[in-house]
């Protein structure tokens, strides 16, 4: 503890340089925490996915629809216990910037399929009975200040839903009890949008509950076999695989984001290391004087590493704190639908701080070694 003042004063020697070093570490940790938060969001959804649910989409891509006639064929497949279907509506609320997932569903089977979507009995009844009714996640309701009974209007975002506005009445605000369902989405009656659609009877994806989770793969294969060689071939996967597949549509996120994070961290390491080396070079005489006074090499080494560690941890705390405050799907309006709810959790804050400590120690290693191996007489003579 008695050396802390010495380290603080040394770090404050060049305030601008120290501030820039702290800032560079803060940015690195901020980016790292933000990127990890997105990846963790997808991981959480995958982890929370039901092993009983499988999802059927068009084999070409999930952006293409399937005819509603698939419903009966799927329902008739051995091992299928229940099913529901949905369409991506892509509606715009006032401004495209207000993005959130709005999905047309078959209300009864949807609520049966997703017990994670929790509504009060009154809200549930009101939603089922009102053809223009909708339910919204509590996160989404909070974002726009909506409450039950409010009327909202969506402009259709996909051409075959026409050009006229779709008015809805909020009949319920649901909360989600699992990461598999986010709280940033809006669900409404499939029939309501289908009857105004130019292409009637089209379904985006099916969600199927299998009777035996151990046979999920066989059931999925059987469903796809039924539509093989038809104009509407399907691709059926477990919910977990479906989530991972969606994430993969954005590229190999783990590798992509991981590489970006690593590049940022390594760059910061070099920046901080160079700064520390400059700082030590400027203090050659002082270090020689301290050695003359009896400071052992190990203490000099510790002081330089401690200084680097201190700066890096301050930067890490700033970066992790900022990420914690700002990197939040709800706050940024980015989550909903297939984009999972994400945020910087305690674990990511801790990892960010540990990473900053690692940057501090690694960046200081070479300058600290230089300082501790300094030949006193040479260093004093260099200045004198």
């Amino acid at each position: 503890m008695k050396y802390v003042n010495l380290m603080v004063k040394s770090a404050r020697r060049s305030k601008r340089r120290t501030a820039l070093t702290v800032l560079s570490v803060a940015i690195a940790v901020f980016l790292f925490a933000a990127l990890r938060a997105v990846l963790d969001g997808f991981d959480a959804v995958a982890a929370a996915s039901s092993s009983q649910r499988i999802i059927t989409i068009r084999s070409t891509s999930m952006i293409f629809n399937m005819p509603a006639s698939h419903t009966d064929a799927i329902r008739g497949t051995a091992g299928v216990q229940d099913l529901t279907w949905a369409n991506w509506f892509g509606g715009i609320y006032k401004d495209p910037k207000n993005f959130f997932a709005n999905i047309a569903v078959d209300p009864e089977s949807f609520l049966r399929m997703y017990p994670e979507v929790v509504l009060s009995p009154d809200e549930r009844r009101a939603f089922l009975e009102d053809r223009t009714g909708c339910i919204v996640g509590d996160g989404l309701a909070k974002r726009f200040g909506w409450k039950v009974g409010d009327r909202i209007v969506l402009q259709p975002g996909i051409p075959y839903y026409g050009t006229q506005d779709y008015p809805f009445t909020i009949r319920g605000v649901y909360r989600s009890t699992s990461s598999a369902v986010d709280n940033q989405s809006m669900y409404f009656h499939w029939k309501y949008v289908d009857e105004r659609s130019v292409q009637k009877g089209q379904i985006g994806w099916f969600v199927i509950r299998v009777a035996d989770p151990d046979r999920a793969v066989q059931v999925a294969e059987e469903i796809d076999r039924r539509f093989a060689n038809s104009p509407y071939e399907t691709k059926t996967d477990t919910e977990k695989a479906f989530t991972a597949q969606f994430a993969n549509m954005l590229g190999n996120l783990n590798v992509l984001l991981g590489t970006v994070a690593l590049a940022v961290v390594i760059t910061t390491l070099f920046v901080a290391g160079n700064t520390m080396a400059m700082s030590v070079r400027e203090r050659t005489t002082e270090i020689a004087v301290m050695r003359t006074l009896g400071f052992p090499s190990a203490t000099i080494f510790g002081l330089v590493v401690g200084e680097g560690l201190m700066m890096a941890i301050v930067g890490g705390a700033i970066g992790a704190g900022l990420a914690r405050l700002t990197i939040n799907g709800e706050f940024l309006g980015l989550s909903g639908g297939f984009i999972p709810a994400f945020g910087v959790g305690n674990r990511n804050v801790a990892v960010g701080l540990a990473l900053s400590a690692l940057i501090g120690v690694l960046a200081a290693l070479i300058p600290a070694t230089m300082a501790s191996r300094l030949k006193i007489v040479d260093a004093l003579r260099r200045v004198a």
Binding site: K2, Y3, N5, L6, K9, S10, R12, R13, T285, E286, V289, M290, R291, T292, L293, G294, F295, P296, S297, A298, T299, I376, V377, L380, V383, A384
Partner: protein, 232 residues
């Protein structure tokens, strides 16, 4: 009793393939409580001799025994501990840490001890009192005159109550008045506090304050004399 015993000490530096001798078979004995002045032209080996006594450089051959310890054979870590305990070093250019106050500069060597914060404070206050700079404790080096900076450096050198004070041209960068004050202070430390001092100087006036003088030339001891101060 001899505090310093140098026997047959030689020191040479190697520059590329050439060996440059700096000290050649120097043998010196300095009794406890002495104030020794080391004189000689530039390159005569004065500072090298001082560095050997401080344990910040090692002889090429010979024995350097200070305060009963053969320091030429100590390894790095015990040598650092030995310096912290026995040596107070005063530099020509003061070499205070610019980001630390006078108080913190003087406290620096005490960080290596097991003294409590309060004990360290007491020691620093005493040392600054001896050099008559108690009122400048919170000043940074840039806020002090050259003479005051050197007095802070002296306080730093004496704060651990070392066995031996080594001063490398302590007045070399000072005006005559400040130099006089610093020399008076060193003389006081020698006489009142019985500190053994070895001082390298070019200045004959400074040398007069020492009790004994050694003249070095080309790395060899050429003369050893007692000064007027020895009998004062």
């Amino acid at each position: 009793m001899a505090l310093i015993e140098l026997r047959d000490v030689s020191k040479s530096y190697r520059r590329d393939a050439i060996e440059i001798p700096v000290l050649d078979r120097v043998t010196i004995t300095v009794p406890d409580g002495d104030f020794l002045g080391l004189m000689g032209p530039s390159g005569s080996g004065k500072s090298t001799l001082l560095n050997l006594l401080a344990g910040i450089d090692r002889p090429t051959r010979g024995s350097v025994r200070v305060a009963g310890t053969e320091i030429s054979s100590l390894s790095e870590r015990p040598l650092a501990a030995w310096r912290a305990r026995h040596i107070g070093f005063i530099f020509q250019l003061y070499n205070l840490i610019p980001v630390l106050t006078a108080f913190e500069n003087v406290e620096l060597p005490l960080l290596l001890t097991s003294l409590s914060k309060q004990q360290r404070r007491d020691h620093v206050t005493t040392a600054l009192g001896i050099v008559d700079l108690s009122d400048r404790a919170k000043h940074y080096p840039r806020q002090l005159s050259g003479g005051q900076e050197q007095r802070v450096a002296i306080a730093r050198a004496i704060v651990t109550d070392p066995t031996l004070l080594l001063a490398d041209e302590p007045t070399g960068d000072l005006d005559a008045k400040s130099a006089g004050e610093v020399l008076t202070l060193l003389q006081r430390l020698n006489r009142e506090y019985k500190k053994t001092i070895v001082m390298v100087t070019h200045d004959p006036h400074a040398a007069e304050r020492a009790t004994h003088l050694l003249h070095l030339e080309k790395g060899t001891l050429v003369e050893q004399v007692a000064t007027a101060s020895a009998t004062a």
